[in-house]
């Protein structure tokens, strides 16, 4: 049986991006009272696992680190077809950078057992470091292929994948177990179904904190992070109305200059 782990992140719903607030102290996005969705690229990671499950006998574990509301995201993954869910939730995990996040996820994957393949989205929509997947692979001492756009061969342990590389792609042969980070070109995630939601009723979500992972608390969260965000700024878009006076020629000339000065033309 193929043992698959899919790492998913609960990120702020992009549809409310203009309403996000930045915590002035932690320089992070508070996630407790905002709508969370599955990180879009992680949906492609889950879909890759689901497509494998259609072809082979497989067990899919969804692994998510986040505050308790992220449990809804795990439940959604179960409704989409994953078999079991694990939510890594502990105030000690808060403020983790990519390194500490990958460390925590890797510890959880070790506890789950020996996965054949770990899927991650290439990047998160709110962090976008692209480091977590490769760092998980490093902690687990597994090969990693980043930016996978196509799985060409997936029978047995010898896989062939195509991965983005600059303006082209590379074909990579790898041996499982491995970590793959995926792009949106890999597949088209299936939508939620009512029957899937009902089936998820009987599926289990397990919560683990830092005690369950068996390492001192200093290894996790902000304390375990070698990097931290010093400042974060919201992007502001403003619109300004200027009424142009004069003849048509004068107005056109003036408009060209304004656009040119603004770097548009």
């Amino acid at each position: 049986m193929l043992n698959i782990v899919v790492c998913v992140k609960a990120v702020p719903d992009p549809r409310i991006a203009d309403k996000l607030k930045i915590d002035p102290v932690t320089k992070s996005l508070p996630r407790l009272d905002i709508p969370l969705v599955i990180n879009p690229l992680d949906s492609h990671a889950l879909e890759a696992a689901l497509q494998l499950k259609k072809k082979y006998e497989a067990h899919i574990t969804v692994l998510c680190m986040g505050p308790p509301p992220a449990g809804n995201i795990v439940r959604e993954c179960l409704a989409l077809g994953a078999d079991t869910g694990i939510l890594l939730t502990d105030p000690a995990f808060a403020g983790a950078d990519a390194f500490a996040t990958a460390y925590t996820l890797a510890k959880a994957i070790e506890k789950i057992g020996s996965p054949d393949v770990v899927f991650c989205g290439m990047a998160s929509s709110d962090g976008a470091t692209e480091w977590v997947g490769p760092e998980i692979a490093t902690f687990l001492d597994m090969p990693v292929v980043t930016m996978v756009r196509e799985i060409v061969e997936d029978q047995g342990d010898d896989w062939i994948v195509k991965a983005d590389y600059g303006h082209g792609y590379r074909t990579v042969k790898l041996k499982l177990p491995a970590v793959l980070t995926v792009t949106r070109n890999l597949n088209l995630p299936k939508p939620l179904s009512f029957s899937g939601i009902l089936k998820a009723r009987s599926k289990e979500i397990t919560e683990w904190d830092h005690h369950d992972l068996g390492d001192p608390v200093e290894r996790f969260g902000l304390k375990g992070s070698p990097t931290y965000v010093t400042e974060m700024y919201p992007l502001e878009s403003r619109r300004e109305v200027q009424m142009l006076e004069g003849t048509l020629q004068e107005k056109v000339a003036r408009m060209v200059k304004i656009l040119s000065d603004a770097g548009v033309a």
């Binding site: 959604e76 939508p191 009512f194 939601i197 009902l198 619109r239 109305v241």
Partner: protein, 378 residues
């Protein structure tokens, strides 16, 4: 303490329905508006999204999600297309008499196929002489050799041309007090859909007439028992028909509010977005208040239904409130849009037209008041 929050599962139902509406229905709306026709695959798409299975019990191939789930689905579909929500709601109305009054054989024969969308159902009560006064029914039946022969005409029937099985209310030719519901199936000799209506709104949702000329209906197609037709039809319309209109109205209210907020934040007047103007803020507040109140009324009635109770009266209140509110919301949304609110490329023009069709469907607001006053005085 009453808990008014949706469960995690219900939130997922909403998400699934919203994704379906936004990805599968929205692209077809302009074509529906232009041609007044549904897109070819609408029934198939609704079936693939398991929409028809929502209220059908699991033992008959459904999902058994229930009526809160149905209301959630309807609200989300209507937010994108009231016309599609109307089609869907009436397919559900057609299914309901089979669930509540069907014999075991009828349930086994029809419900699994309704659940997969292989067959589609509707209810045909309204006649040229009226809909809310079913005792004015002229469509008649006569028992002949153990079967029944139907003659008559029904009008304003949603899904008249697309439904495969229609629950038709008819009066005994020899006893005007006896009314019976019959399952009239596509292909029965003498039965045919005829005229298609051209409505002011909900364009693309099929509404039309059906005609029955000496249609011989087998005895096993009597639904709910001979002479029990009024009870069958009224229970379905009262609980599920009115409930469905509440879902359509809530979705339209939300669409009006969303469009108004978007426009009011983008439209600059006097150097500021018009959302800064109190006149606009008050309209948006009115819409929001009506929507919140309507949701409480509608979902409470659906919760009663899910608990196994009758909720015709509660849905009469909710239907009155939400369809009236939808009309007000659409008018306010158009007002907020100013001149743009008169232009077809802005959705609010469609919302205004659609809102007027919500009123009479499943009983006008005045009829709702008759029902509510009877309830209050009883």
């Amino acid at each position: 303490m009453i808990d008014f929050t949706f469960t995690e599962e219900q939130e997922l139902f909403r998400k699934a329905a919203r994704e379906f509406a936004e990805t599968k229905i929205a692209p077809h709306v302009p074509m529906m508006e232009e041609t007044n026709r549904g897109w070819d695959e609408v029934d198939k798409e609704l079936a693939e999204a398991e929409m028809f299975a929502v209220t059908i019990p699991e033992e008959y191939g459904g999902l058994g999600i229930g009526y809160i789930g149905r209301l959630i689905a309807l609200e989300e579909i209507s937010r994108i297309s009231v016309a599609t929500a109307m089609m869907y709601q009436v397919f559900g109305l057609g299914i309901e008499p089979f669930i509540k009054f069907g014999t075991e054989e009828q349930k086994k024969k029809f419900l699994p196929k309704f659940a997969t969308g292989e067959r589609l159902a509707t209810v045909a009560v309204t006649e040229p002489s009226g809909g809310s006064d079913p005792k004015g029914c002229r469509t008649s039946y006569k028992k002949v050799n153990g079967n029944y022969v139907l003659n008559g005409r029904k009008c304003f029937i949603t899904n008249s041309h697309t439904a495969d099985a229609q629950v038709v209310l008819a009066v005994d030719e020899d006893n005007p007090d006896a009314m019976t519901c019959f399952i009239v199936e596509k292909g029965m000799e003498g039965f045919k859909p005829t005229h298609e209506e051209h409505k002011v709104g909900m364009r693309g949702c099929n509404t039309g007439e059906i005609e029955m000329k000496d249609v011989e209906v087998p005895a096993e197609n009597v639904l709910g028992g001979e002479g029990k037709g009024l009870k069958v039809a009224m229970a379905a319309i009262g609980d599920v028909g009115r409930g469905g209109m509440v879902g359509c109205a809530l979705g339209l209210q939300q669409a009006c509010l969303d469009a108004s907020i978007k426009f009011a934040n983008e439209r600059i007047l006097y150097g500021k977005p018009i959302s800064n103007l109190q006149a606009i803020q008050f309209k948006i507040a009115d819409m929001k208040i009506d929507l919140e109140a309507g949701r409480l009324l509608g979902y409470r009635a659906a919760a009663i239904q899910d608990a196994g109770g009758r909720s015709s009266n509660e849905f009469a209140v909710a239907k009155y409130y939400t369809t009236e509110a939808a009309q007000k919301a659409a008018k306010m949304a158009v007002d907020i849009h100013g001149g743009y609110g008169c232009m077809d490329e802005f959705d609010v023009t469609r919302y205004l037209r659609d809102s007027f069709v919500l009123g009479p469907s499943a009983g006008t607001s005045d009829i709702m008041k008759v029902i509510v006053s009877r309830w209050a005085l009883s």
